[in-house]
């Protein structure tokens, strides 16, 4: 390993240096996929289903083909002929029987399903031609509700599956029956619904795909954020070996998980390019994006029962979860296990039973969306805690603190074998409440009399952002999947004149990887980040990678920077060896600082990096054969977390390496007359371990907060009964803007992770804390006899209805059964 102590006690790590990327991005010098131009390229446009569910009787492309400048048109039938096999499925039987091709074959299964794709001389012509493709549809009844879809009588999406239930599993840890029997109170919640929305990246999906007949390779320049996954899924379907299928991207205009989902289109473009003998360029229109790029998972929790002791200890719960994957399984059913990374959330619940059903429906396929699968579950848990507090008369703050995992409990093993690494949840909550000055608002809340027309509510959202997946959890879904562990690769070299260059396996979308990687490498090599060049973007032909490479799931600070650090340490060791040889000094006396290598206590004896590079690259006859052979100054390192394979039988194992926490506190004002919700104060307390660049962390916190507030109040994708999307443009889908975003007060704690190379934890997703906090605050503002907040989406009308539910005597959605000797509660059985 390294031979010298770090040159200075001050590190670049921990400093909010400016983002290297911003200079080009703010001056319009970034390179996004739509900026890519290839000789002879044509423009692609997809023909999409205007119906939710229908049989394709026929497709007539003749009118479109007659337009001058149309290069090629591809339909589902042709695609089926060209593909050796449909996309590989993660699901076991019966979900695994789904046969999905790059274009719809025989049937369309959702509004926006792609039935054909046109390549033409211009973007506009391609769109015109697509409009001339005549598709004859026989409409079929649709199913748009996941619980209804599970009914054997429901319209079937995939006949060969035999049911719309594509995955089902029982997650049973501890002894929930014992807990419910021995509880003083059992709180029963009828139905909780987590709605569909997306993250609205500024840049829609895009790709330039060239099936090059000359080299028989397929070159994909795209903004797909998980290219190795895309490659592994589409390679076999295209019949192309992975060393002939190469992905690259430079700048990506936001992704949020949604851009994992562009692989079916990329596959279709590859076939279109092959047919036309030209590169195919595609930039998605916003409406196409809203219809078909992918939505976040929608989930329903039925018949929840929560076991509570009279002192407020929550023992556990059971529930029936239904997850709506949309029409095809894209990355799903991985969501069916990923929630269990946080099965007990921030709480010491020991008895958990979740009967989990995943169905397909006639809706856009879901795709991991910021907070993927955990935010649904964390929202559920936060609703449970708030409802328990309200029904049993506990203070929601005290109840949380009492049931939180305590600082002394770390490392804390959850009932399913996950290990929470570090944190201080009670203090985080205190700090968040201090930031909003909670007592002041409680006072205001009391002062507001009836007739003021307003109500105030204070809410809390406690979340964990689990990061660095153990892909072995896929085996809990399908024991035959040969996946486990995780990792990321980096490559650090000293270049010809002694310059430092870094290549990453990641596909950044605004997270500042160039900046933070330079900080980490600069610390190891005793130099300044300005002296470290990090290659922008990802290019499979140049960068190093592993199958997990990409940017997703809150892990770069651990895996990506772990890899960069490891590679830099290797390089440092090589530099020291060459310097020791050149300076004729023992290696443990070599110090490295500011691009120079010195002999400790004799700084006159020195060799700069350029000298070290010279010896290896262009002056190697002076070296010993042994050094010449072994040292390259080109160092690759793959960071791998210390995971083991989980147990599919018991559904237990360590599923993620790190657990960042976000505790949000929020004050809302409700307008009694209209249901309008105004956020009066908002605080986000973040603990993601050691922060490499605090300002970048704050930026992620701001983004995740705005997204969550948007989802809680404004944004929803809803379908009518025939399966038509009701919000397919910005007229109807109100993506949150700066005008709607409150001032966000940000606070932090740093609880370093003992499990990571740098103490950092992944944190970008943010666990959906604003959804929990806003729902909690609305709940707090309602009257005790009003219904509970049971939906994650609360636009004004829903709030208006909630405020009237009590006086209209509507069902509250919750009941409590208490033992006769349980004090402190006036609840009824």
């Amino acid at each position: 390993m390294t031979t010298t102590a770090p040159p200075q006690t001050e590190t670049w790590k921990g400093q909010s240096i400016r983002r290297t990327e911003d200079r080009r991005l703010l001056q319009g010098q970034g390179e996004f996929t739509d900026d890519v131009w290839m000789h002879r390229q044509g423009y692609a446009h997809f023909v999409r289903s205007p119906l939710g569910h229908a049989r394709i009787r026929s497709i007539d492309t003749s009118r479109a083909a007659r337009l001058e400048g149309v290069y090629a048109i591809l339909t589902g039938d042709e695609v089926r002929e060209m593909c050796p096999t449909p996309f590989f499925q993660i699901a076991p039987e019966p979900g695994g029987r789904i046969a999905e091709y790059p274009l719809a074959v025989d049937k369309v299964r959702y509004h926006g399903d792609a039935v054909a794709v046109v390549l033409a001389e211009t973007r506009e012509l391609a769109r015109d031609a697509a409009g001339l493709v005549d598709v004859d549809y026989e409409p079929l009844p649709a199913v748009v509700d996941t619980v209804a879809a599970a009914d054997p009588e429901a319209p079937l999406l995939h006949e060969q599956v035999g049911s719309n239930v594509v995955w089902k599993g029982d997650f049973d840890w501890g002894d929930v029956d014992w807990a419910l029997e021995n509880a003083d109170h059992v709180v029963k919640i009828d139905r909780l619904h987590f709605h569909r929305f997306s993250s609205t990246p500024l840049e829609c999906n895009a790709a330039v795909v060239h099936w090059d007949p000359g080299t028989d390779t397929v070159k994909v320049q795209s903004n797909n954020q998980m290219p190795m996954f895309a490659s592994m899924v589409i390679g076999p379907t295209l019949g192309v070996a992975s060393n002939r299928l190469t992905f690259s991207s430079q700048d990506i205009g936001g992704a949020f998980g949604i851009k994992i989902g562009s692989y079916p289109q990329i596959a279709a473009l590859a076939l279109l390019s092959r047919k036309a003998g030209r590169p195919a360029k595609w930039t998605e229109y916003r409406t196409d994006h809203m219809l078909s790029a992918g939505h976040g998972n929608e989930r329903v929790f039925l018949d929840t029962e929560v076991a509570v002791l009279k002192d407020g200890t929550i023992l556990g719960f059971k529930t029936r979860a239904f997850d709506d994957a949309g029409a095809y399984l894209h990355y799903e059913p991985l969501g069916a296990v990923i929630w269990s990374q946080v099965c007990c959330g921030c709480y010491k619940l020991r008895h958990i039973h979740v009967d989990y059903t995943e169905t397909v429906t006639n809706k856009c396929p879901t795709i991991p969306n910021r907070g993927y699968s955990r935010l649904q579950h964390l929202w559920f848990l936060e609703r449970v805690v708030d409802v328990v507090a309200r029904e049993l008369g506990f203070d929601p703050v005290a109840l949380r603190k009492q049931n939180y995992v305590q600082p002394s409990d770390y490392p804390y093993e959850t009932p399913n074998g996950c290990v929470y690494d570090s944190g201080d949840l009670p203090r985080s909550l205190d700090m968040a409440l201090e930031l909003i000055d909670a007592p002041k608002w409680r006072e205001r809340q009391r002062e507001l009399g009836r007739g003021s027309g307003k109500r105030i509510g204070i809410g809390i959202g406690s979340t964990l952002d689990s990061g660095t997946n153990n892909f072995g959890q896929a085996r809990i879904i399908n024991p035959n999947l040969p996946f486990s562990g995780n990792g990321e690769a980096a490559f650090v070299k000293l270049d010809l004149y002694g310059e430092i260059n870094v290549n990453l396996g990641t596909t950044p979308q605004g997270q500042g990887h160039e900046t933070t990687a330079a900080q980490v490498v600069a610390d190891v090599l005793g130099t300044s980040p300005d002296a470290v060049h990090v290659t922008a973007g990802f290019n499979q032909q140049q960068n190093t990678y592993v199958a997990f490479s990409g940017t997703y799931a809150s892990q770069f600070a651990v895996t990506g920077l772990g890899a960069a650090q490891g590679a830099a340490e290797r390089l440092r060791a090589e530099i020291a060896e060459v310097a020791a040889f050149a300076l004729q000094a023992p290696i443990d006396e070599i110090e490295i600082r500011d691009g120079n290598c010195f002999v400790r206590d004799d700084p006159e004896r020195a060799i700069p990096f350029i000298g070290v590079a010279n010896l290896i690259y262009s002056n190697n006859a002076v070296l010993t054969p042994e050094l010449r052979e072994r040292i390259s100054l080109n160092c690759r390192y793959v960071y791998t977390p210390p995971f083991q394979v989980p147990d599919p039988e018991t559904k237990t194992g360590n599923l993620t390496l790190t657990y960042a926490s976000q505790i949000h506190a929020c004050v809302v004002e409700l307008d009694e007359h209209t249901g309008e919700v105004k956020i009066l104060d908002y605080a986000a307390l973040d603990d993601c371990g050691t922060r490499i660049n605090p300002q970048l962390v704050e930026g992620q916190v701001h983004g995740a907060t705005a997204l969550g507030i948007g989802a809680a109040l404004y944004e929803a994708f809803e379908y009518d009964e025939s399966g038509l999307l009701q919000q397919a443009s910005f007229y109807d889908y109100h993506a949150i803007t700066a005008l709607d975003t409150p001032d966000i007060k940000v606070g932090d704690i740093e609880s370093p992770s003992p499990f990571t190379p740098n103490g950092a934890k992944g944190m970008g997703e943010g666990g959906g804390a604003p959804l929990h906090a806003v729902c909690s605050a609305i709940q707090d503002a309602l009257s005790p006899d009003d219904a509970i907040v049971s939906d994650s989406h609360n636009p004004w009308e829903r709030v208006w209805r909630l405020m009237r539910s009590g006086e209209h005597g509507e069902p509250r959605g919750v009941t409590v059964a208490s033992r006769s000797d349980a004090a402190g509660s006036d609840a009824t059985a």
């Binding site: 769109r127 015109d128 003021s452 027309g453 309008e676 109807d732 109100h734 803007t737 009308e797 208006w800």
Partner: protein, 291 residues
């Protein structure tokens, strides 16, 4: 093409524009293009010739009239209304409303005439102009100027008193009553999204309401005056309580549309709220009051 291919003309005078519009079938005026171009892009309507009127000088003037009113050219943009000293001086509410339509890009191009001729029930300006008792000055090639009260101008989406081959050329806004004032209230989901319910009001009187115009929008195809509430206000004291009493129950007789953003029931419930708030603002009593 993003748009289907379409011819384009940019006449210098209203005369020329009217000639083009009346001679060619399938010709339509193009003002700010903020709605029309979208409509063409989505191909829900097709036009053969776009007659761009947005740079005709005589349609771009704002004139402060000697009676304290305004004469506003049809192609004055929202941003120009917002920034006009004349509008700010005599009708500050009109400037404010124009200054809050959607976003700056749209305000730079969208025009008062286009906003009225599109006649989308959720558009900001129609109910306000009805409340202000504006007069719409329409010209045709043959017949000179035809004046239509704003109240009779709006028929529904894309449907107004402007006939084939005609142009809305200017809008006359009478002076605000003195004593008196105007008010405006909207419920929308998010700061810059479409209105769910809206009302505009004009009140004459001080201490006692002598006369009132109350206009609701988003409840039917076109802005509608609520004569019942107006009658209840006439002679009432200019207090929040009296206004609330006049507004109570006005939603019951309405049959507003329901859609994914707001159900019929909810819109009904919003009617008295926006009406009350608009009138309260007009009487200078709790314009900012949400209660």
């Amino acid at each position: 093409m993003l748009l289907e291919s379409v011819e384009y003309a940019r006449p210098d005078t209203v005369e020329q524009a009217l000639t083009l519009l009346s001679q060619r079938e399938g010709a339509a005026p193009l003002a700010g293009g903020q709605s029309l171009v979208n409509v063409l892009k989505h191909r829900v309507a097709s036009v053969e010739l776009l007659v761009d009127i947005s740079r005709i000088d005589e349609l771009r003037r704002i004139e402060a009239r000697s009676d304290g009113g305004l004469e506003i050219g049809a192609c004055v943009t929202y941003d120009e209304l917002d920034g006009s000293d004349a509008v700010r001086a005599s009708h500050p509410l009109l400037a404010d409303v124009a200054g809050h339509i959607e976003d700056q890009q749209i305000r730079d191009r969208g025009t008062i005439g286009g906003n009225c001729c599109l006649s989308d029930p959720t558009n900001n300006l129609p109910p306000l102009l009805v409340a202000l008792d504006a007069t719409m000055n329409i010209r045709s090639r043959s017949g000179g100027v035809r004046q239509v009260a704003a109240e009779d101008f709006f028929h529904g989406y894309f449907s107004t008193a402007v006939g084939e081959g005609e142009l809305l050329c200017s809008i006359t806004v009478p002076p605000l009553p003195s004593p008196g004032g105007a008010g405006y209230s909207t419920v929308s989901l998010g700061a810059d999204s479409k209105a769910l319910a809206r009302a505009a009001a004009l009140v004459r009187g001080n201490g006692v309401i002598e006369d009132a115009r109350v206009v609701l929008a988003c409840f039917s195809a076109a802005p509608m005056r609520h004569h019942g509430m107006e009658a209840a206000l006439r002679g009432a004291p200019a207090t929040a309580e009296a206004v609330a009493a006049a507004a109570a129950g006005i939603g019951d007789g309405l049959d507003p549309p329901g859609d994914v953003h707001a159900s019929t029931d909810y819109r009904r419930a919003l009617a008295p709220v926006v009406a009350r708030r608009a009138v309260c603002q007009a009487i200078g009593n709790g314009g900012d009051e949400r209660g």
